[in-house]
């Protein structure tokens, strides 16, 4: 079972993602939070295998939360969830320590695959992002 921490400030999105991730049965959502600060706290508490973190959240944004979690829980692999496909955001996310970057409009189809890939210690990017990462 892959333990996953889920962080998104939009409740509908968060619940939708929880449904998608738990549906296959090999993924368990150990915590679902609505801002970066809570994400960091919960990650410190139970060090999940993968953390799915929205890039823009109130209180503490996803990039900063990623940096903290990577520092404190090196075993937790992070996939960044974002509406933006600019190289800057991708670069910042990778620099903060994220191993995956998934665009939100593709999350329904790609996130499970992404979590599984990260759990194996590999990287995962949405196809548009993979193009950007190649040029970084």
């Amino acid at each position: 079972m892959i333990t996953v921490l889920l962080a998104d400030d939009h409740t509908v999105v968060r619940e939708g993602l929880r449904y998608i991730l738990e549906a296959p049965g090999d993924i368990q959502i150990t915590a679902a939070v609505s801002n970066g600060k809570e994400a960091v706290e919960r990650a410190f508490l139970n060090c999940p295998d993968v953390a799915v973190i929205d890039i823009s959240m109130p209180v503490m944004d996803g990039i900063e939360a990623t940096r903290y979690i990577c520092e404190q829980c090196p075993h937790t692999h992070i996939v960044m969830l974002s509406m933006y496909d600019s190289p800057e955001y991708v670069q910042r996310a990778l620099k903060a320590g994220a191993l995956g970057y998934v665009l939100k409009d593709a999350a329904g189809n790609e996130l499970v695959e992404a979590v599984r890939t990260l759990y194996k210690g590999k990287r995962y990017f949405s196809p548009r992002i993979a193009e950007i990462v190649k040029h970084l």
Partner: protein, 721 residues
Amino acid sequence: MAAGKTVVNYDSKTDPRTAPDYERSYVPHGARAYMTVPLMRENRWVASLWVSDDKPRDWSTEEVSLLETVAERTWTAIEKLRINSALRASEELYRVIARSIPGGGVYVVDKEFRYRVAEGPVTEAFGLAREALEGHTVSEVFPPEPSARMEERLRKNFAGETMSYETNHNGRVYWTQQAPLLDSIGQAIVITMDITERKQAEEALRQSEELFAQFMQHLPGLAWIKDIQGSYVYANAAAERAFNASGENLYGRTDQDIFPPDIAAQFMRNDEQALTDGKGIQVIETLQHEDGVLHYSLVSKFPIPGPDGNPALISGIAFDITERKQAEEALEDSRERYRNLFDLVPVAVYSCDSNGLIQEFNHSAVELWGREPQKNNPKEKFCGSFSIFYPDGGPMPHEECPMARILNGETLQPHELEILVERPDGVRRNVIAHPLPLKNEHGEIVAAINCLYDITERKQAEEALRQLNLELESRVEKRTAQLQAANQALDESHKRLQSLSQRLVEVQEEERRAIARELHDRVGQSLAALNLNLTIINNQLFSLVNEQVNARLSDSLDLVADLIALVRDVMSNLRPAVLDDYGLEAALQTNLESFKSRYGIGIAFEKYQSPIPRLTPSLEMTILRIAQEALLNVVRHAQADQITVSVHMVGQAIRLTVQDNGIGIQSWQSANRPGSHGLTIMRERAEAVGGNLKVSSTPGKGTRIEARIPFQGKPPKEEHR
């Protein structure tokens, strides 16, 4: 002896000449009969030769004659003996004398010219010894020529003549006197003395007298000496000329003998005073010279004491000061003329001594002061006016007035020379003082002269002019101020307009950002959630529902995806999140990428080495908007296939250039028309933030747009999203 008479007595008892004394005088000697011959010298009885018998005896003629012969012979022998003895004694005396004459000698020479005595140091001085002379004749000792001269002199001595003469020998001077040696047997005595020193002293005296005479003759004045009785004993040539008397006419005569009574009285009175005073006096005496001119002389009269210390002579030295006297009189004349001038000049002039006491002042000064000060009055020092003031009207103490300060050795600045003088009637006059210190040869201030210029009229004219100027100035100032105010208002309104446009841009940007945030937070998130849910539903329902439902679901998913893309586009246009988060260069980069993929035009982005710092959001947005507008212009009008965009800092400004390789601007008129081109919009955006925009274009070779946007120092930290 010659006159002596032989006495013969045959019986003294009976002889009447002797009888009375016979018993008492003759008996004791047994002299009954005697004969005696008196021995006489120079008619004086000296002794007698006596022969007696104790009984009466008749002395024979032969006996008497024999006695007389014996007496004669004896006396002659005695005399000879006596003379020889005296001669020896006198020779001894001569020798003693000779030795006692310093450098001198005594010689006694007899009639045969034989030296009897030759004694004294002079003999040795002549290289002779006493023994070489004594007993020898002159001709035996000396060569014929000098001995002949000496014998001639001695012959004169023997004839009773006395002579004296000087001789020189070996640089010494000898004085010699030769005389017959009286009371002797015809000898001459020669006495010689060394008188060299005396001669030298005499020469010195002579020279000194010569010097005195020379001095006196060349003295540029009269010099004379009178004895205590007033008789002239010396007068120099100038005095002789002045007195019109010389030599014997002057010496031994008195002033009364020479001068008119009143002049003589004047001279004698002064002589008297010089003698009484003891130290001498200086007086001015007058004397009419032979040229008829009355001469003034400065005369110094002083007594010369004699050996006893009392005045023995009275001396006078006079200098003719007639010319000086005349010069003084001429000076007095010129002073008088100066005095007249001094009084006539139309400037007030006065002088003070070193203590500030007023010495002189002219008529103009009296007019200026309105009063006449008292000279040398300690209560009226430095200035003749009772009241003086500073130009501002403040009272000025007299000891602070320019005259007082100049006497105090100060140097005054021009503005310190102006004073106000108040007359007794209360009228005040503006005055410029020109005090001038007078110094002695040691540089000490001994007095000062002050010229006072009355500048009241000038002052009044100046004041009128000043008032006119002031009025003019105030008008000019007023007008200038009005102009400045108008300019300032214009400037302010311009600034207000600029800040208003800037504010407009900022407000617009803020609004856009707010909308963009709303779109992201609400619409974007909701669409994402909707998309997510539709995906889930689609995944769950795909195998359960029919094809039509699946087709509707698929359409819905596509619609949501389109909506998300649309919202992202609008958001990006309204306010690119990357601009807020990563700054101008990142935003430009993102923008150019999407532009390139959308329009298929080659775009090169030139960044410079130093990254562009974060600017205020409105500046960043302005630059980004200008770039977007320029790119759109290229797409719309340029027909270009290559665009180069560059952005970099130039000092305190950002320069953005967009260069294309299109057809260039064909018509500037239509290019600048509002609405047709983005040029106006770009320019307005640039100017709204204080920048400018330059557009250059060569037809057929493209267009270059350059925007210059200044920023002030370090951009303020503004919260970026």
